[in-house]
Amino acid sequence: MSTTQEIAAQIREAAKRLLSEGKVDCVIGFAQGTVPMREYPYFAYTPEEAENLTWSRFCCNNLSNFLVRRPKGQADKVAIVAQGCVSRNIVGLIKENQITREQVYILGVASPGMVDRNKVQALFPLKTITEVTEDGDELIVKGLGFEERVPTKKVLRQNCYTCVMRNPVIKDEMIGEESAPTHGGNIDKVAAPWEKLAPEERWAAFQETFKDCIRCYACRDACPLCYCHVCFVDEARPQWCGKTQDEADVATFHILRAFHCAGRCTDCGACESACPVGIKMRKLTSMIEKDIRELYGYTPGMDLESQPPLSVYKPNDPQEFIK
């Protein structure tokens, strides 16, 4: 397997080639962040800018999000670095008419699994981490007065352990080789954690999970599914959801947001990575996607052909719940 550093070099080469040949006007990828473990989305418009591109286990944004929010009138055709989940979201965006397949050149890459920086920090309580680098399957964590090695496997984001497709489902060019499609985890074993709770304990678990929500909408803004011009939370006539941090308003927001993602969410984890207060909203969203798998046998974004599950129906759909 290539290392992420080798992949990064190949991404730079491919980006330079595409830009200098004029095949694309822009390459969307990541550049190294100023803070450890936080690479940031980067738009390279020239071969020179392409030198700034990188690839690592710290690339937690879902880049497909920028395909619908790109500044208008700039690039006509863009290249994008896409691992499994991002490519699945691109499929979703194509199905939902947000982009066409022709508008995007996909630099496919196998996902190495992304690091949850909060997990790394938790290993070094009250210490300041100044630099984290990858060395094969280990992270070298440096800080004031210490340097330690941490196995990457221990500190991945939760969603990466149960990823169902690390390789891109569509691509124009593969960077590096394909990997095993999964890390071996089974999403159905960990999805919908509150199902194990007694019915009367669930509301408390739900409240506990979301009690710190400050309604900043970072989760929504990081999500490639949330591209509406007007989100339901911003509507005034009628007002579907109050704007406070009251338990009812927080619950309404998260329930409806999760419902809007039904049959579309690829479990990319961008929402959790974006949350400034560390809310694990996948405890909610994972239930919906599990439900969709069980009811309609559908996994979002796996191909361009299948119909989104809530836009079709079959005469024999489950309806035991209807009297």
């Binding site: 579907w240 309404t252 329930i255 409806l256």
Partner: protein
């Protein structure tokens, strides 16, 4: 016997004009008696039934929601 009056829930019933709303009217014609807890909102079709309406009812403190096509 309990001192307190029995709990009387408020239930929002969203009924399709062509199906259940008609059945509700016919129940009236047939004088079929039932408790007065349900309050009917007529909708043109169950397809009109937005999940947001259900959430709004709960936000209002409505004790139960019934959607019938």
């Amino acid at each position: 016997m309990s001192e307190k009056a029995e709990f009387q829930p408020r239930i929002a019933a969203f009924l399709c004009n062509w199906c259940s709303y008609g059945a509700a009217d016919l129940a009236g014609v047939s004088r079929l008696q039932y408790p007065p807890n349900i309050h009917v909102i007529r909708i043109p079709c169950t397809g009109r039934m937005s999940p947001k309406f259900i959430l709004q009812a709960f936000r209002q403190g409505i004790d139960g929601v019934w959607v019938s096509g």
